[in-house]
Symmetry: C2
DNA sequence: ACCTGAACACCGTTCAAGT
DNA sequence: ACCTGAACACCGTTCAAGT
């Protein structure tokens, strides 16, 4: 299942070594925190490895003991965030398995938005640097994971059947991440966030309802 | 209308001077082309000002005569691309004013997808560097322009009325740019593109139809 | 095992000198 | 008006030396 997600680029970006002593585990944790702090305080342009090390209270050399290059550091921080979001979607999926399609739709849309807005600053900060590294494989992996969970849950709905569930799940998860990303990328206007929170579930429900209708008309015409 | 879109950051990123002679106009054009070529051939990481100048056949100093820094160069290239997309949406909007809501929906979704996929490589290349500069204002400006055109066209539909047209137009344009962005950000799998082309109009129509129904029930309950 | 920080290569940016 | 390219400051990355 994850055989082709572990490509060359992923391996290239992996941390250099895993901490085996309490001291170094603390060091890595400090570096992680420092990265987000510098990103939030000084912006993407002023995010330098020296500055991160300084803020973490270690020397640059120490940073490079755990991360082969700046990219891999940013990669690790982004990975942490995206996996938290994927985890939130997974939980919501398991929670709504076998329920009605509207309940599932509202549950997934809400869970996704909650996960993103819970760490709103981190989300926006990471969007800013996500292009400074080769994130294609990571994005693919997380997208696939979210997609699979969504497909499984939609298929379990008691009151709906879909002809092409893979296409529907693909669009559903693309809509969640895409729309949320576009809105959060802009200045965070509370009114926009409110509109998004109100309208995203509406759009999700509307799309699924149409996909269902197509399923019915197709099965009745056969 | 564009008074608050010309913020400090925008001005900061403006080109240093406008070419007044044929020779320098050619130079700027060569720099633009070289930027996209280097981006496509060498990737975002290897995009250096020296490399761009070299490829354009000029010296670095010449490049810095027209662009105060690397950011402003990337900014100008991105602006060119986004304005072409906005232009395509504008045209589609004018073309479909006063038609049915389904025709409008299909027309806008198709025009947006066409504009993005027409320069697919440039689109993806620019997504990759869009976070290396301060694009917030540019994105806001283009988003606002697309939003305004969409709102105007939706309001002109002969067979539909919306209670909160600003919310609907906001979500509609966010869906277009967000979903397309998320799909194009991933490896361009032809099957995915095909699914997107088939399902995006479906989702747009479904959302607008639901927004209309809400309009009707609200007006009939008053 | 883990940490330090001076040293090196490379990139963005400038500016005195050219046409 | 426009162009050149050596020079400078700064950042990513390394590695010999320390605990």
């Amino acid at each position: 299942m994850n055989s082709h997600t572990q490509s060359a680029a992923s391996a290239f970006l992996k941390p250099r070594k895993t901490p085996r002593q309490a001291r170094s585990a603390t060091t890595v944790e400090a570096i992680f925190d420092a990265t987000i702090q510098v990103l939030l305080a000084d912006g993407a342009t002023r995010l330098t490895t020296t500055r991160v090390a300084e803020r973490a209270g270690v020397s640059v050399g120490t940073l490079y003991q755990y991360f082969p290059h700046k990219q891999s550091l940013l990669f690790a921080v982004l990975k942490r965030h995206l996996e938290a979001v994927a985890q939130a979607v997974d939980s919501a999926c398991q929670q709504h398995v076998g329920q009605s399609i509207d309940t599932i739709s509202d549950g997934l849309a809400g869970a996704f938005l909650d996960a993103k807005t819970a760490h709103l600053d981190a989300s926006r900060a990471l969007y800013l640097v996500s292009s400074e590294m080769d994130t294609a494989d990571l994005i693919d992996e997380i997208s696939l994971r979210v997609y699979a969970a969504v497909a499984m849950t939609l298929a379990s709905a008691t009151d709906a059947r879909f002809v092409d569930i893979s296409a529907v799940a693909f669009m559903f998860s693309a809509a969640l991440s895409g729309i949320v990303r576009v809105v959060l990328d802009r200045e965070v206007d509370p009114a926009m966030l409110q509109t998004l929170r109100a309208e995203l579930p509406v759009m999700c429900r509307a799309y699924l309802a149409t996909a269902m209708r197509r399923a019915h008309s197709e099965s009745s015409s056969k």
